[in-house]
């Protein structure tokens, strides 16, 4: 029942605010080629199946995989499309894991591809149309449209995050410098990653705090960009991984637990996630993934973490919720550089989502970079040897969360 699965390579395309030189198919092809180039002994013919995903509303194309079949090299090959909003990349990676773990006859090597070309679409409509239906019912129940449009502007990813930030700051009493410090660490790391979007090699905290508020407590300088980009990760069985890659990265734990939506419930009912920074879904995801991977003290056993934090308050919150730091101690860890490149537990050395956010691909880039760090092939490689790493993603109305635990040793269950 099931078998051990390993990641042997991960590829990216260059991310930018406007990749106006390529259409969606060519953007994806760049990432697929970058991924295959790192495994010279494997040709496109050896890929048995594909998993693909993006957030369709940002491109305006429904089921783009059907059109991009040839650019993926997926002609006459099995392919399924998995997309769950912000966590699309994570869900695509997890579906790639399950495609191999299931052991269907003939499916051993699976390529998981996730992408986003936001410069083609309208991000604000794309984000606000998440709750468009639910808001239309509030109008039926009597709330005027003028009020609802103001509510929609408070909605969208930035709106949700500012609710989360207000709650998190209320509990952990952090100051705005802590938020700015996270942004500075991310964007300086991004400067050393070839495929990242916002490369700011000598950004300072004062410059970040010098930008006006978007919605309290988040400022323009703290918010993630909207990027175009693609990411591809190659999964295969344990045996094939040994001769295709010198240090195969074993996927030891996967989970994507969903919780209730925040702010607006379905059918215009209220939301039972009273405190958006509590994140029961994320805690249960990490619990399931750690159990599968046989990890009981995440703080000691995890060497590297890529968390999905478009906004700085989220990075502080996620590293606590995923069990890497004690409650309310994350800001100190960032202050005395525990989480920097040569710190004891480096976080998001690729610049994270704060510097590069192609929403469909972001949640796949997290486990991809974590895997490359373990292999020692990451563009901003961490000096210490990384044995166990996690790749995390959140999405939806703050209610979806994907979690992947990677390691260079096999899962205890298989040993």
């Amino acid at each position: 029942m099931g078998r051990q699965v390993a990641i042997i390579s991960a590829g990216f395309s260059e991310h930018a605010s406007k990749r106006s030189d390529v259409n969606m198919a060519e953007l994806v092809n760049e990432a697929v080629n970058d991924c295959l180039k790192k495994v010279p002994s494997l040709s496109i013919k050896d890929i048995d199946a594909y998993v693909n995903g993006n957030m369709p509303a940002f491109e305006g194309a429904n089921l783009p995989e059907l059109w991009m079949t040839d650019w993926l090299g997926a002609r006459n090959k099995p392919l399924i499309r998995v997309t769950t909003g912000g966590t699309t990349g994570g869900s695509v990676g997890i579906a790639g894991y399950y495609s191999v773990a299931a052991g269907l006859p003939g499916i051993d090597t699976v390529l998981a591809v996730a992408f986003e070309q936001q410069s083609q679409g309208d991000t604000s409509i794309g984000l606000s149309s998440v709750a468009l239906g639910e808001i239309s019912v509030l109008n039926t129940l009597g709330l005027p449209y003028e009020y609802l449009t103001r509510l929609m502007s408070a909605g969208g990813a930035i709106g949700l995050a500012s609710y989360q930030a207000a709650n998190y700051m209320n509990k952990s009493k952090i100051r705005e410098e802590d938020l700015a410090r996270v942004v500075v660490q991310n964007r300086r790391n991004a400067a050393k990653t070839w495929w990242s979007h916002l490369k700011m090699p000598n950004l300072t905290i004062e410059e970040v705090l010098d930008t006006p508020y978007i919605s309290y407590p988040l400022r323009y300088g703290m918010v993630c960009p909207a990027s175009d980009g693609a990411c591809a990760v190659l999964f295969t069985t344990e045996e094939k991984a040994k001769d295709l890659c010198d240090t195969p990265v074993y996927v030891n734990g996967v989970a994507s637990v969903a919780h209730e939506s925040v702010i607006i419930g379905y059918d215009a009912s209220g939301s039972a996630q009273l405190d958006p920074s509590e994140q029961l879904g994320a805690m249960k995801s990490s619990e399931i993934a750690y159990n599968q991977a046989g990890i009981s003290f995440p703080r000691k056993e995890i060497d590297y973490a890529e968390v999905y934090s478009p906004f700085p308050n989220q990075e502080l919150m996620w590293v606590e919720k995923l069990g890497l730091f004690e409650e309310n101690t994350a800001p100190e860890m960032y202050e005395n550089e525990v989480t920097s490149l040569n710190g004891e537990l480096p976080i998001c050395c690729s610049g994270g989502v704060n510097a590069t956010n192609a929403i469909g691909a972001s949640a796949l880039e997290r486990p991809a970079v974590a895997a490359l760090q373990i292999m020692g092939k990451a563009s901003n490689q961490v000096p210490k040897t990384v044995h166990t790493a996690i790749g995390h993603g959140w999405g939806g109305m703050l209610n979806l969360c994907t979690m992947m635990v990677l390691s260079d040793q096999q899962q205890r269950k298989w040993r």
């Binding site: 149309s129 468009l132 129940l141 010098d210 930008t211 919605s215 702010i263 059918d267």
Partner: protein, 176 residues
């Protein structure tokens, strides 16, 4: 913190790409419709008409939902009891929205608040008294429903929420 410059965005190492043609495309959400079953809202709206608050309760997990909910997700059953609620509540979370006033063009700072009615397990988006300054809102602030004069059985009967005196505000409960 220097307030002088207040730059809108930060510059970064850019790489520009050749710009190719663009083909148009549209997604007309105006030709979509959204179907909802609001039968369970009827008795809730009727109570609003005579200025009473009521929420429904799932007897399996004892959670109370205001506004009422069609299915309790935790137990995957329909809530079967109605519960009368007091009209006091608290601010469960908030954010400040910066809206440019179309006429004057100056930026308005307005708190958009999530209100949780007392002995209820959900919060929902509501309005505060117009002259409450955003600096005064804090999580846990007690508030009370301010009913509209003429109620006609819809959500606008709750016009906004008034502030109630909170004497525990100065007690510093959080231990250092």
């Amino acid at each position: 913190m220097s307030k002088r410059t207040l730059r809108k965005s930060l510059d970064y190492v850019k790489k520009d790409y050749v710009e190719t043609r663009k083909m148009p495309g549209n997604w007309y959400l105006s030709s979509y419709q959204y179907k909802f079953n609001i039968t369970h809202h009827q008795s809730f709206l009727k109570k609003l008409k005579d200025k009473k608050l009521v929420g429904n309760k799932c007897s399996a997990c004892n959670r109370v939902f205001f506004p009422p909910r069609f299915v309790c997700g935790k137990c995957l059953v329909k809530p079967d009891q109605w519960v009368d609620l007091r009209d006091t509540g608290q601010v469960s979370t908030y954010t400040i929205v910066y809206l440019k006033d179309p006429e004057t063009g100056e930026v308005l700072e307005k708190p958009v608040v999530m209100v949780q009615q007392d002995n209820c397990d959900t919060n929902y988006m509501a309005e505060l008294q117009s002259y409450i300054d955003f600096k005064d809102t804090y999580i846990g602030m007690p508030i009370k429903v301010h009913w509209a004069e003429s109620t006609n059985g819809n959500l606008k009967d709750i016009e906004y929420y008034d502030l109630i005196e909170d004497d525990s505000k100065d007690l510093d409960v959080s231990k250092d």
